[in-house]
């Protein structure tokens, strides 16, 4: 029973995906049905697994060349897996339900649900993988399903661009990931986590090599979890439908990187350098993303940047060795971030795809349920005491406090900024009076959309409590979470940051939205704080596009020219031309005169005679 459950979890979404592709792609209703049932099956199975809290390990060979190479498809269920299973299937289910309404009128509905199932399959694959190779396989597959979902409205140029950007950026990360896998394999001789753990000694024997391998693997996480410098794809990914953003680009896929780091933590642990790098990258990402978030006006983008910075926090947590805490934050974050996205989705849905917060306002009154849940989500995120976010974030900060002050400082600053920009978002979007007529008749969405919001709100409230978390995490894992000895100062500072951020934003923006100027010309943004550098995301996108154009495309252009005109044109054609020319000249010897021929005859005799007798 136990050994079949994981397979059930893994394969039911695949089944639905392939059925939809092959047969059901014409009937929307059928596709939805298939997809939903699949995800419910997965959820049920996962709950069972969590309930019995039994570890399972079951594998079948995939490539088997005897001693030369053995790669398997193996499923491993342990505490870590169970957490992720719950997150993925849980949030997944809610998003599926939500989407049935959100995508109701979309012509590509069955395509959407097919891709959604495909994503569930790949994501669960990552979660269940018992070896690096298999993890890489599904790593790539989530990449492609996210490509499909981001590009769902493929006739929109921007959507298509964003999809490509996401896939390519991830590819760069995967390049590192694969190299890391190869490095590990070449020394250890296996890719299974268990196997590696046994032969860890082989790796640790050569510290620099170990560090290299660790960092290569980390590249994968950098790509998938959108860390600096490969973070650029995530904000653009918001071109996809909002449920997708909630599921893939907030709750689950982007968290895969963190999950992977937690999985291979035993490889990273021995190398202080690797951990240091990871911590730094995480901290920088957290901080910069938070700064960028303060100046965005698109509701989804604000959330996207906040996702970035939260992911940065988790990675930093891994970096300071608190992988348990990071998983805990991942767990809570999944709920309230999904909640926020779905809430914003509801808003967008209600306002007919209006995403600019400055063109909203007053939604508090027009869509109360949404506002309520959204507020809860916000508070959970910003670290309001006794809500989920508070506990998990505090756990990370605590670890950082012990490990490295700079990271701690960055984390603290981040949470302050988080409180700031989220409050800004809520105030501007929900308070005051409607600033556009679109905003003026906003309305709560049908049950299909609000019910998931409510469920998520509840979860975001309670997910942080030790009892609840422990029930899911199980003792041994949860013990990692609060490994660090408690320091009273840390929570105090955290709360301080939260208060400061929230109040500051309130002071700044609550008056601002009352400013009559905004009513007069609602479309001129009257942001009291204006920092172009942040608004333009530190100009990183521009720099990158210049970089790509300057290096790759230019090189490609040059080589293309070289290949066509030099290699093919001059060299190959040149040889032909020379041969032909030689022929042309030679035949001129046949000038038709008899005596000329006789002369050649004689000359030939003389030459040969010379050669013979010399």
């Amino acid at each position: 029973m136990e050994s079949t459950l994981p397979w059930l979890i893994l394969l039911s979404p695949l089944a639905s995906a392939s059925l939809i592709l092959l047969f059901a792609h014409r009937s929307k209703a059928l596709s939805v049905l298939l997809s939903l049932s699949a995800v419910f099956v997965a959820l049920g199975a996962s709950l069972l697994l969590v309930k019995n809290a039994t570890d399972v390990l079951t594998a079948i060979p995939w490539i088997d060349l005897g001693p030369a190479l053995k790669l398997g498809i193996g499923l491993k269920v342990d505490a870590l897996t169970r957490v992720m299973l719950l997150v993925v299937t849980g949030v997944g289910t809610l998003v599926h339900v939500y989407s049935t309404v959100y995508m109701a009128e979309d012509e590509g509905k069955s395509r959407f649900f097919g891709a959604l199932s495909l994503f569930m399959f790949s994501m669960l694959g990552i979660v269940l993988a018992d070896n690096l190779a298999m993890m890489f396989i599904f790593w790539e597959l989530v990449g492609v399903s996210s490509f499909l979902l981001i590009g769902h409205w493929f006739t929109k140029e921007s959507a298509a661009k964003a999809a490509n950007k996401a896939f390519l950026t991830n590819r760069i990360g995967d390049f590192g990931f694969m190299s890391g896998i190869l490095l590990v394999w070449s020394t250890v001789g296996t890719v299974e986590f268990a196997g590696i753990q046994e032969n860890l000694a082989k790796l640790t024997a050569n510290p620099t090599f170990l560090t290299l391998a660790g960092l290569c693997l980390f590249c994968g996480a950098v790509g998938k979890s959108a860390q600096m410098p490969l973070h650029v794809w995530l904000p653009d990914a918001m071109e996809g439908p909002t449920p997708v953003s909630a599921l893939i680009h907030a709750a689950t896929m982007v968290a895969a990187g963190v999950y992977m780091l937690a999985r291979i933590f035993f490889i990273l642990e021995p190398s202080a350098t690797a951990l240091g790098v990871i911590a730094t990258v995480g901290a920088i990402t957290a901080l910069m993303a938070a700064l960028m978030a303060t100046q965005q006006n698109d509701i989804k983008r604000i959330l996207a940047y906040s996702t970035l910075s939260q992911l940065g926090l988790m990675v930093a947590g891994i970096g300071v060795g608190a992988w348990g805490a990071s998983m805990f934050h991942l767990f809570t974050h999944a709920f309230f971030k999904a909640l926020l996205f779905l809430g914003s989705g509801a808003v967008i849905h209600a306002l007919h795809h209006e995403q600019d917060i400055w063109k909203m306002g007053g939604l508090r009154k027009t869509m109360p349920k949404t506002f309520l849940t959204f507020a809860i989500g916000t508070l959970a995120l910003t670290g309001m005491p006794f809500l989920a976010g508070f506990f998990s974030k505090e756990a990370i900060l605590l670890a950082a406090w012990h490990k490295s002050m700079p990271v701690f400082a960055a984390g603290l600053l981040t949470s302050l900024l988080t409180a700031f920009y989220m409050t800004r978002l809520v105030v501007v979007a929900f308070f005051g009076h409607p600033r556009t007529d679109a905003a003026s008749h906003g309305h709560d969405c049908p049950a299909g959309m609000t019910v998931p919001l409510l469920i998520l709100a509840v979860l975001s409230a309670i997910a942080g409590y030790a009892g609840f978390a422990e029930a899911i995490f199980g003792k041994e894992l949860f013990h990692h979470v609060h490994a660090a000895a408690a320091v009273t100062l840390v929570p105090a500072l955290a709360v301080g940051a939260f208060v400061l951020g929230t109040v500051g934003a309130w002071m700044l923006y609550h008056p601002a939205i009352k400013d009559p100027a905004i009513f007069k010309d609602a479309y001129r943004i009257k942001d009291p704080v204006r920092i172009p550098l942040f608004a333009n995301k530190f100009y990183i996108d521009e720099i990158y596009s210049a970089l790509v154009a300057g290096t790759q495309d230019m090189l490609a252009g040059f080589l293309g020219w070289f290949d066509h005109f030099i290699l093919d044109g001059v060299i190959v054609r040149g040889i032909c031309a020379i041969t032909w020319g030689a022929g042309y000249t030679l035949r001129l010897l046949q000038f038709g005169n008899l005596q000329g021929y006789a002369f050649f005859f004689g000359a030939g005799v003389v030459v040969l005679l010379y050669i013979l007798t010399k």
């Binding site: 035949r587 001129l588 046949q590 000038f591 038709g592 005169n593 008899l594 005596q595 006789a598 002369f599 004689g602």
Partner: protein
């Protein structure tokens, strides 16, 4: 004392051969060229006879194989002339010329 050695004959025939070849190279009239070719054949004949004279067999007689060959050559030369002249005549009928410079329509 015998003033004439084989080398003298060979020299003579060599001269004949060269003269013939020179004629082929230099003269413009096909008939003349043809004559020069006959000259070259006769150069061969001369040396053959000389060789046969100087290759005395065990029985003290010259080696007659060479002389047989000479007769063959003469016969062949005759045939060649017969055919050759016929062709040249035909050429003259058709082109009113027997000069090599005029035979350059086939080239390259």
């Amino acid at each position: 004392m015998n003033p004439l050695t084989l080398n003298h004959y060979l020299l003579a025939s060599g001269l004949l051969f060269s003269i013939g070849f020179a004629g082929v190279l230099l003269r413009r009239n096909i008939i003349t060229i043809f004559m020069c070719l006959e000259l070259m054949l006769n150069a061969a004949n001369l040396s053959l006879v000389a060789f046969s004279r100087y290759h005395v067999g065990a029985d003290g007689l010259p080696n007659y194989n060479a002389q047989v060959l000479v007769f063959f050559i003469i016969a062949v030369a005759a045939a060649e002339v017969a055919v050759g002249l016929a062709i040249i005549v035909a050429l003259y009928r058709a082109r009113q010329t027997t000069h090599v410079e005029d035979l350059v329509s086939l080239k390259f």
